[in-house]
Symmetry: C2
Subunit: 238 residues, 2 copies
């Protein structure tokens, strides 16, 4: 590693899409191929890195270093300082790195924290972001349901938010996507039933993966709701 004070190291946050390896962009493929180091986050140490699996076909393990980085236990940008420090040390003065994220890097993705922490710790490292296809639009595509057009308003809200708040959002917005619905699916379906909206809901689980599931008649889920974390509801007004 040189001791030059002018760093030419670069980090690219690259979205690899929602789960179908064909939904990588041409730019993601090129930037991955041009990298010296591939950083791949995992939700817990020893776990599978879904983003690494999606990018696998474009990585040359003989030439490129692959570094798996567990998510920090705590939340917030500062919790990512250790990850940012490891990235900065690995890149050194002049290497080019890619940080993979499922979906898009900045839409419910970890790269926003990495970027903020890295800017504070190693401001000499240039950071760029390559946007990706998000699981939200991919879910709508897989289900064949429009999200929005014209003057529509779209809200994207964790399903675990306060139910009264979710109810208000459902009344206000033409389209609402409830993310991470697994643990509260029964309760949210009951809310939608009370609001008379069950005919305009689609459930999508593990979008883009081989075990993807799409349910248009969500009443079928009410007796025995699945609890998969990677699941969402798309709710439209009529």
């Amino acid at each position: 590693m040189t001791e030059s004070r002018m760093s030419t190291a670069r980090l690219f946050g690259v979205g690899v899409g929602p789960g179908d390896p064909e939904l990588l962009t041409l730019k993601a493929v090129r930037v991955i191929a041009e990298a010296d180091v591939i950083f791949a986050p995992v939700r817990r140490a020893g776990g599978r890195s879904l983003s690494l699996e999606l990018a696998r076909a474009h990585i040359d393990a003989g030439r490129q270093q692959v570094v798996v980085l567990p998510f920090p236990d705590a939340r917030g940008d500062a919790a990512w300082d250790g990850v940012a420090r490891q990235i900065a040390e690995t890149l050194g003065a002049d290497r080019r790195g890619v940080f993979l994220t499922e979906g898009d890097p900045l839409l419910f993705g970890s790269f926003g924290h990495v970027m903020t922490a890295l800017r504070a710790i190693a401001p000499g490292i240039a950071v760029e972001v390559v946007p990706g296809v998000s699981s939200i639009t991919a879910a709508a595509a897989a289900a064949g349901v429009p999200l929005t057009d014209y003057e529509d308003r779209l809200a994207i809200v964790p399903a675990t938010a306060d139910p009264a708040e979710i109810e208000r959002v459902l009344l206000d917005f033409e389209c609402v996507v409830l993310l991470k619905v697994g643990s509260v699916l029964r309760e949210r379906l009951a809310l939608l039933e009370r609001l008379g909206r069950l005919d305009h809901v689609v459930y999508v689980r593990r979008c883009g993966w081989p075990d993807q599931q799409i349910v248009h008649d969500v009443r079928a889920l009410m007796d025995n709701p699945p609890s998969d974390y990677f699941a969402l509801l798309i709710v439209r007004q009529n």
Copy 2:
């Protein structure tokens, strides 16, 4: 055209991303290359088709038919009946078509209307959607600002909506994207100033195109606000 009652015609709604030809997905490239007919919408007859320009490198004009389709003057799904009929007639019994859209086909895109109208007029034609990178995540990537993570809520609202409603959304959501801000930029910046939010706003115009403009200090826009239609504001809390 055969008179077979079993149609094998297919239409793919394909998102070609926000303006950078490298942001097409591998799947979009493949599906475009496999098509017999490319349908490209234009906002008005005789105008440029931005989506056609983005896909141009992957179209073989000697082998593939390219059909430019002006947006209907009226709004709503039924307004697209004429477009759907033209698509059905062009595809006939067994041709494979692609309908190009900028960004994503179902997120503020015209393909939702095409799909709905075509299902009513020609239910034998199978419809599939290939999601694309949206201008919203691409704008965040270009500006280098995170949209959301963890329990954040995201609202995507046309900037021309009722100002009182926009104000309420700004207070409720951790991140708000105001679309098509061109005609009301001065008024929306004044609202954000009144709410003390000008330090947490980014303006992005013509994201991904050669004349892309990103403004982090939006105060600089207040005296002489540009009126470009393809412009948005990303507003974050703190």
